[in-house]
């Protein structure tokens, strides 16, 4: 009996000791994940005998974790095998356990997986996406962009790579090509469900396959199945888009990372923000983020071939360092500086062309299926008449709505506060104002709008300064607060929304905005380095206003000055556009947006016959009618491709707006348009299967490509366990 008791006691002690050791390992691991400085583990003298050696030369065993300190002299130390397995770092990058997977040693300088490389105070995390190459060509106000994603399997077993990435919300994506070695396989557009089934079957049977789906108009998922160890697969996407033109500047933007979204309770089809390696969030789409002390080997190169057609007077890159190679007065090549190749902020290129204002311009493309009768597609940039600037505005009831959620913490909220203070200084005595702020709940400065007296504006500036950031992004509460109080009939209500737009319930927000809008106008300001432009542009469209963007490095003064310039003159409303001498049909958007000073509108449509004649635009300014004519010069005709795609993409966006405004089921219309024009949409997807490349064994481990946090956004308030998202 005594002996049994002793044995039991011994077993209990051993179990307790093991448990204690496990806890200690866990804390060490957690500490390591959070650490932002390199950890140096003394080398074993026996293993240093072969120095110098490079990363590729370093042997790694499945049970080994390597810590490398890279200094000016390269690799300096190699550790003994630590307690935790080398698999740890891989497991944390996947959604399923990947026991036994270890790095592939090959000729390519890929990071050795199963190892942790410390480089410039950051741990290098091996990921299956090695590089993204972006090449854009801008002609007039239309750009054609090719994005190549270079996937490579750095592990010792085959994998499925999953990458959630952004593209511009108005991108008409009409080309998808998978390249394996020197073989190019064009992806086929299919109904989404059908494409997903084909992909699942090909993946299950071991075929190399890829699938691209749309989660939001500006968020996409790329899946590449059955990538064998060391193998490379490139995915090339091409899209067309129209450029923004605002306040004398053209703007071309390329988003590089999806910001961490907040999903209010009850949201299931949102976009989850998860730490790298964590389990699924329960949302339809998940973005996995690298911790602040980590970075992946994924980098980006970007090149813009800008052919403005007229002299380029000035050009700036808002967020990135660039290299510029002029090729004439109207033509220049812009390249992203390789030193600035981490994909963690939007690339924003702005340029001004010769002449005080841009002229209304028509670009046409003949329809290859139009037959002998001609016909084709056009885009028309409708520029506001100059005399709009001479008209004074009514007094306004200005409502500033500030997002003070966790994702705005730090630089974004500082920038938003500066912008509101600048705007307060520009208000006129007859105006009134209110300040609403929202995070997990919404509150306001005063029970009712205040007159814009100097005293009140001073108090408002102090209120803005006192706002603290943190918490969720209950944007709907902010909208309700801003639009629910009684409307002052003597003033135009203008709502200025300052946010990064990091929410996952866009549709709910847009519907809520539409339902409450009445006569108000909404101007959205995207604050930050990687804002949700789909939400911000859509809010402006639904809100009969305009969107503007305030990057972290922007000076808020000119941005708010332009905004006040826009609201300081009445808009041209109830627009009607008539084409004389040109048989035009199917013009989108069907509800032509109001014209503001400094804010042209782009229309796109189809025509029969030849594109000649003139355009008459009529509208109302207050209660007065206004007409102006524009001649359509023949030399505006262009044979460039892309207008057809732009037309179909605009039609899809217009159908989406119709759904928000009316609730009509537009699924079939969107799907049919997308398939007919070979376009990506919410209801279609690109599928490519290589039926010649069948791999052996199971389909492999799914590896989510982790992405860096957007520049200026805090990980601890958004993604980290306990963060606000």
């Amino acid at each position: 009996m005594k002996t049994r008791l002793c044995i039991l006691l011994a077993l209990l002690i051993t179990a307790l000791a093991a448990l204690l050791q496990m806890t200690a390992c866990g804390s060490k691991d957690a500490a390591t994940r959070q650490s932002s400085s390199p950890i140096i583990i003394p080398p074993r003298s026996s293993e240093l005998s072969g120095v110098p050696f490079g990363l590729d030369d370093m042997p790694s065993r499945p049970d080994e974790e390597l810590w490398v300190i890279k200094g000016s002299g390269g690799v300096s130390a190699k550790s003994p095998p630590p307690l935790s397995s080398g698999v740890t770092s891989i497991r944390s990058a996947t959604t399923q356990p990947v026991e036994g997977i270890r790095p592939q040693q090959n000729d390519e300088p890929v990071p050795t997986s199963g190892t942790l490389v410390v480089q410039q105070d950051k741990k290098m995390i091996p990921v299956p996406l090695k590089h993204t190459a972006v090449k854009a060509a801008i002609n007039a106000y239309i750009s054609s962009v090719t994005v190549t994603q270079q996937f490579q399997n750095p592990y010792s077993e085959k994998i499925e790579a999953v990458y959630v990435f952004p593209l511009p919300d108005n991108a008409g994506i009409n080309e998808f090509v998978m390249t394996i070695g020197d073989r190019h396989i064009r992806g086929i557009i299919r109904e989404r469900e059908q494409a997903e089934k084909i992909y699942a079957e090909a993946r299950h049977q071991g075929y190399v396959a890829s699938l691209m789906t749309q989660e939001r108009p500006n968020i996409f998922t790329q899946k590449v199945a059955n990538i064998e160890p060391g193998k490379k697969i490139d995915i090339q996407i091409r899209y067309f888009q129209t450029l923004r033109y605002q306040d004398g500047w053209y703007e071309w933007a390329f988003p590089m990372v999806v910001g961490p979204r907040y999903n209010p309770a009850g949201t299931a089809d949102g976009v989850g923000a998860m730490p790298r390696g964590s389990a699924a969030s329960g949302q339809k789409t998940d973005v996995h983020y690298l911790a602040p002390n980590e970075r992946s080997g994924h980098d980006i190169s970007l090149e813009v071939d800008l052919n403005a057609g007229v002299t380029i007077e000035s050009l700036v890159s808002v967020n990135h360092q660039i290299r510029r190679q002029p090729r004439g007065e109207s033509h220049t090549l812009v390249q992203l500086d390789p030193k600035d190749s981490i994909p963690n902020k939007d690339f924003v290129l702005r340029y001004q062309v010769a002449g005080a204002t841009v002229k209304s311009a028509l670009i046409v493309q003949s329809d290859p299926q139009g037959g002998k009768g001609g016909g084709g597609y056009f885009t028309l940039m409708l520029v506001p008449p100059e005399n709009l600037k001479n008209l004074p505005r009514r007094a306004v009831e200005m409502v500033f709505v500030m997002d003070t959620s966790g994702s705005m913490s730090g630089e974004p909220i500082t920038q938003a506060k500066s912008a509101v203070r600048v705007a307060l200084g520009k208000m006129q005595p007859a105006d009134t104002f209110q300040i609403v702020n929202f995070a997990s709940s919404a509150s306001q400065m005063s029970p009712s709008p205040l007159s814009a007296s100097q005293e009140n504006r001073h108090a408002a500036a102090q209120y803005v300064n006192s706002l603290c950031e943190g918490g969720g992004t209950e944007m709907l509460q902010g909208i309700n607060k801003a639009l629910d109080f009684p409307h002052d009939e003597n003033r135009t209500r203008v709502v200025a929304f300052l946010t990064d737009g990091y929410i996952g319930n866009e549709l709910e927000i847009l519907r809520g905005l539409h339902d409450k809008l009445a006569d108000s106008r909404v101007f959205s300001f995207g604050v930050g380095s990687s804002t949700n432009r789909y939400l911000l542009n859509s809010m402006a469209t639904i809100g009969n206003g305009a969107a503007a963007y305030l990057a972290l490095k922007d000076d808020p003064e000119p941005v708010m000055q332009s905004y006040f310039e826009r609201i300081s003159h009445p808009a041209l409303t109830n627009l009607d556009v008539r084409f004389q001498g040109m048989n035009v049909k199917d013009v989108y958007p069907r509800k032509i947006p109001d014209l503001f000073v400094g804010q042209p509108v782009i229309l796109t449509g189809r025509f029969d016959g030849s594109p000649r004649g003139s355009v008459t635009v009529s509208g109302k300014v207050g209660n007065e009618k206004l007409h102006f004519d524009m001649a359509l010069a023949e030399n505006n005709t262009s044979a460039d491709a892309g207008i057809r795609t732009v037309w179909a993409r605009t039609k899809i966006a217009d159908l989406g707006d119709e759904f928000i405004r009316t609730g009509r089921d537009v699924t079939g219309d969107i799907r049919n348009t997308a398939i007919e024009y070979g376009l990506m949409s919410q209801y279609t997807a690109f599928i490519a299967v290589d039926s010649l490349t069948r791999t052996t064994g199971e389909h492999g481990t799914t590896v989510n490509v982790p992405v860096p946090m957007p520049d200026g956004v805090r990980y601890d308030t958004t993604v980290a366990p306990g963060g606000d998202k």
Partner: protein, 153 residues
């Protein structure tokens, strides 16, 4: 006498259970295999023979008779001039028609018989589809029409 009978019965039961388990396992293994046969992937190579003429552009329609075949990828040909993935008509795809086209402005263009495209298909069902090619257009470098013969395999 009772004990050997009981032992025999026990053994019989054990064998039956084992056989049943084996059958279940075998069934479990064969089920996915039949799924695999129900849906499979294959490729169709399309060859054009322009004899002595240089081939600069083509457009053809692919027909599949028997079986349910769906296009899941479109690959380029063997000659450098047509190595890039050809284009397809998405509108035609809505009507279950596969129309494929490509052109090349390369100085060096193929003559004679060349594989111009490889079409990746998903086949559903046990029936084996047969493919036919209907040439819609074939052009030389000057835009002149040229005669070709087509073959698929």
């Amino acid at each position: 006498m009772k004990r050997p009978v009981a032992r025999t019965l026990s053994l019989s039961c054990f064998i039956m259970v084992l056989a049943f388990a084996a059958a279940v396992v075998a069934h479990g293994q064969s089920a996915p295999r039949s799924d695999v046969q129900a849906v499979r992937f294959e490729s169709v190579d399309v060859f054009l023979d322009s004899s002595t003429h240089k081939l600069a552009a083509y457009q053809f329609e692919l027909f599949a008779t028997g079986g349910h075949a769906e296009i899941v990828g479109l690959e380029g040909g063997e000659h450098k001039a047509f190595a890039h993935a050809p284009y397809y008509d998405p509108a035609a795809l809505q009507g279950d028609r596969v129309i494929v086209a490509a052109y090349s402005i390369d100085a060096e263009l193929p003559t004679g018989k060349t594989r111009v495209a490889r079409i990746h298909m998903q086949i559903t069902g046990a029936e084996v589809p047969e493919y036919q090619i209907k040439i819609m257009e074939t052009l030389g470098p000057g835009g002149e029409k040229i005669a070709v013969t087509a073959e698929s395999r």
